[in-house]
Symmetry: C2
Amino acid sequence: MLHHNSVTIADIQAAQKRLFGVANRTPVLTSRTINDRTNSQVFFKCENFQRTGSFKFRGAYNALVQLSPTQQKTGVITHSSGNHAQAIALAGKLLNIPTTIVMPDDAPAVKQIATRGYGAEIILYNRQTTNREELAQNLASDRHLTLIPPYDYPHVIAGQGTTALELIQEVEQLDLVLVCCGGGGLLSGCAIATKALLPNCKIIGVEPALADDATRSFHTKVLHTVTNPDTIADGARTPSLGQITFPLVLQYVDDMVTVSEEAIVRTMFFLWERLKIVVEPTGVLAATALLEDIVIAPGAKIGVIISGGNVDLAQAGRLFHQF
Amino acid sequence: MLHHNSVTIADIQAAQKRLFGVANRTPVLTSRTINDRTNSQVFFKCENFQRTGSFKFRGAYNALVQLSPTQQKTGVITHSSGNHAQAIALAGKLLNIPTTIVMPDDAPAVKQIATRGYGAEIILYNRQTTNREELAQNLASDRHLTLIPPYDYPHVIAGQGTTALELIQEVEQLDLVLVCCGGGGLLSGCAIATKALLPNCKIIGVEPALADDATRSFHTKVLHTVTNPDTIADGARTPSLGQITFPLVLQYVDDMVTVSEEAIVRTMFFLWERLKIVVEPTGVLAATALLEDIVIAPGAKIGVIISGGNVDLAQAGRLFHQF
């Protein structure tokens, strides 16, 4: 069991050592077109090239590798909109830990298939009628499985923070880092790493306007929730920040902004067409804030986290018919 | 004017110096999934991340930068299925050289738009009724423009060869390099660079089966042509190897193979979904030969040139509906 809920730069640095040679050190891409358009220097940290197609592998592996031998032998369970599921499944496969995944029955087919492909047991539920946290808790109790939550868990947060740590190690100086926000694991982890290494660098979290719980929570300092938000950014459909991530976001993040669904699709199209990378809707949230002029920072060196690339290609193609 | 038609490693190394800081040094991506599936180590040289979205910028810039001041002032003309057009247009813009592009009227809209966006004048023609070489030659004579052919031109071939040069500089040892083949500029340039630096490394060219002119020419040592081949790989619709590229391919390439249209689409889907990169049909030809087991080299270190990523995203989405 974990005895503290704080996450420090030392935890993130330790996570980086654990992930060395296991997680991909993902490339940082730049684009002259985007630099010209934003009048700034933009560095895209491309976690769509991470193992399992998103940053989630970092936190999942960092959590599973630290379980006790008994916990590892019995196995783990988690609830996830998809990317955390794949990440836990692969980390479990690599560490020989049995994995059970509670997943909404409307999760993209590509994510369900990939998760099963890693050998996980999948239990589907209906998002309208079932509370996934309760379902996972009950299954964990019944089967004596260790629950690894998708974001509200220090080892997961520390793992996700290695994304910003790597970006800063490569780019060295940054004035601003933009990070998408669902449950706040990636955002708080990256904020802790960034503030420790670059105290003057601003951190801004980005949410879909249709799932703006964290933005409202940040500005009011009271935890807000959303219920089944109908955003295309499925990784940001989480009901709220967590008990651990909320105070971390309040402490380390400088601002939160939201973006429209139309802006998310426009940015997806732009990044696919111009950067030639496959990015999922949640994965473009941070870039959307910049490319749609919601965050303007002329002359700045800006880090943008591209969080993942797991998307149904045919579905994305249909979205792009309008362009 | 050019006084010789040979291209040497020295020409390619000189081209690399000219391109330094102008062309992108494109990333080399690897995939554990693909290594496992092919039982080899595969290094994807990703020219879809090159400026203008394909390797063509290398040859175009290397050609234009070496023109005389008079030629540069009057301007250049070329015929192209699209990527060479964008490349000439951008190189012209960077060097302040007027550019005129003769382009088939069924070239992907994204390529026409991008070419106009770089300030080129576009002259469209019908592929069924017009010989593009003649049209371009006539326009060049009438307007005193210098014709920069898409592949059969030593400075273009030398520029394209920097793709393999960079790959070898990064990976150092390779047993096999797979390169797509349209008119043979990229293939011959990469073959010259590879054989100079790694004499024991094999070079295999890959064509669509529907446009197998170079494969037949290679095996019979007599130049074969195809007429308006209906392959999805629009960069390989060229009628034949050139007067310069044909002997270079015969001299430096070890083998030529072909791939089916279905295999091209399967490989596109696979690379988009698993590598998270946007690659055009022609861009996956080399990868297709490997992933469809047409070329098998267990235990080998294999370089695969991903030549470009300029594709209509909605159209690609429709192709992917079957998966």
